[in-house]
Subunit: 365 residues, 2 copies
């Protein structure tokens, strides 16, 4: 992926993007969405980079999703003007920032609570316009939202606020990553959309028409052609892919656009290698099949433990890996790994093409 001179560019550990793989991933998902007649609104939390968000829009995304208001500000600073903030905005300062951002971008906000909705409604009233919101429905993740039926009354109450428009129902199928087989994952995807549609149908009977059904997660995204009712999808990880997506059957090693490059700094015993990438680089997210990353080209190496700066690799059998060697590792979960990096080194055909700053890193407010 990277030519032999990469070591002159930077010290390890660092994150490298293969731009050809990235663009192939972006095109594939855009094509899938187009064929299914569903809008693609990628979750940019995976890369946190306006550079890549703009590429996603080029490839046909209809807008983007962000995790926090601070990420939306970064994206708007770079001219992106259709943003779903998939997180409730709570607090006086945040509502002020949100109001300011409305001057620069078309914003939609995700929420599930009347108190939160009232805050957004107040901003809408001050601006003399209705602000679109998506309401979270719990389709199995048990994070935001109530179940399909219990959601109805709170949504009707929210919809009575005059400066809000309940534009969509949204869910996240993160629970699909825990499923063992492709068929189970597909079933999660279908059930998710059916549940969202159940809420929509019940709301319709009460006189509230909700146009958008917005579904998430790269684990289920590839089944979009089989998913009923959805009008929009918000996959994030598909841009880069990782061990989680591979385990869900959504990618192979050659579809993983980002890898950590790490140097072997110790091999104290035959069966133990230490690298300079720990949880501060690879992120600590555990993987149900074990290990903290896939060491490309070394099937007998398992990243067994992470300290903050050390990765401890277990060697099964023999390995000629030596101190000073550089290993390429695909993280379990690419999103938190990117959030630990200030920049991504972007290569094409082994040559450095650009350095992508992770401008949305750490924007948790």
């Amino acid at each position: 992926m990277i030519n032999e001179h990469f070591e002159l560019l930077t010290d390890t550990p660092f994150l490298a993007v293969d731009l050809d793989v990235l663009e192939r991933n972006l095109k594939r998902m855009a094509d899938l969405a187009k064929r299914a007649g569903v809008k693609l609104r990628p979750h940019t939390k995976t890369h946190k980079s306006p550079y890549i968000a703009l590429k996603q829009l080029e490839y046909g995304a209809s807008g983007i999703t962000v995790a926090k208001l601070g990420e939306a500000e970064v994206m708007a600073d770079h001219g992106i003007d259709d943003i779903l903030i998939a997180f409730p905005i709570v607090g006086r300062n945040k509502l002020r920032r949100f109001a300011d951002l409305l001057d620069r971008a078309k914003l939609t906000v995700g929420l599930d609570d009347l108190f939160v909705a009232k805050g957004i409604n107040d901003v809408g009233e001050a601006r003399g316009r209705r602000i679109p919101i998506y309401v979270d429905v719990d389709t199995g993740l048990h994070r935001m939202g109530r179940d399909a039926v219990a959601s109805v009354e709170p949504i009707l109450e929210i919809a009575r606020l005059p400066y809000l428009e309940v534009r969509g129902l949204m869910s996240h199928t993160g629970h699909a990553y825990a499923k063992a087989t492709v068929e189970e994952i597909r079933a999660v995807a279908v059930e998710d959309a059916e549940l969202l549609n159940e809420t929509r149908t019940l709301l319709g009977k009460r006189g509230l028409d909700v146009p958008e059904i917005s579904v998430g997660a790269s684990a289920t995204a590839r089944f979009i052609a089989d998913i009923p009712h959805a009008t929009e999808m918000r996959p994030g990880m598909y841009a880069f892919n990782d061990r989680f997506v591979m385990a869900a059957g959504g990618a192979e090693v050659e579809d993983c656009a980002v890898a950590v490059y790490a140097t072997v700094v110790a091999r104290p015993t035959r069966d133990r290698i230490v690298i300079d990438a720990g949880s501060k680089t690879l992120a600590a997210d555990p993987f149900r099949h074990g290990g903290y990353g896939h060491v490309v080209g070394h099937p007998n190496l398992t990243v067994r433990a992470l300290s903050e700066e050390h990765g401890t690799i277990e060697v099964a059998g023999e390995s000629d890996v030596r101190v000073g060697d550089v290993l390429r590792i695909i993280p379990n979960h690419i999103c938190p790994a990117v959030n630990l990096a200030d920049e991504l080194f972007a290569f094409r055909g082994g040559e450095l093409e650009t350095v992508i700053p992770v401008l949305g890193r750490g924007k948790n407010r």
Copy 2:
């Protein structure tokens, strides 16, 4: 800890330091070390802030420890001139940076490998001076180093390099955090030092005198008076403390100097609360007693799951916590949480005294 106007200072989530608690922690450990006749070389990876490192030196630390060369550069930029880099330095660029840094600070390097040692030796040769190193010995953590006996031959080989001085043997008792009782933790601390001393004794018989025995970890630090042979200690977390240190019996809630402040953004069901701090704020390190943080003042709230931006709290029984409330949470592991923050808001008596930039954040190279 923070007065009611804190919300005007910043949006949540953020990390707040109680400076009175911090200074009490620094003083306590400095006193312990002094009484035991052991040098204190705190590991600054916990706070990554020259501001706090300088406080540690004021309180009597003899120097500092850092995790990576990049952290050493940050500390040297702020006038700190006695630094143990407790990590092997490998690669041409890094050795060049290390050579440059030698002009500004007295540096010691931790390593366990002859190839790595040769790189440092080359720098020493170019500079015409011997560079002090510590050699890692594996006393039970199984990360860096060989066991006490197997370490002897490699250390003798390293010691033959003319521009190195094998100044110390070092270990890390991170494995003590897995122990259930105070007595087991104390036993780890004593065994650790006995093993280091075994290596030292064997080396002495072969004609190599190693002056320093350097032991680590806040879990075992409070037993320093009972730890034989140690000449230096390198605790890090004691400055802030966290759930890990509390579980090891080393701190109570009131000794925890840093907490995450997070806002409740949803309460979709009676037993489920969602806050705006997820793994991007609290860090994902699991805790053997469960949960992802201690919610201060709410014993019936358990941070059950973290997404990147969402913390999902389980409510046992009843709770009057409402959307918009701000909760104070002590992380499982404070070090990675600090590494996710750009700054720490530092309070004294509830008033903001200063904002401490986390200048060493992300310096993993």
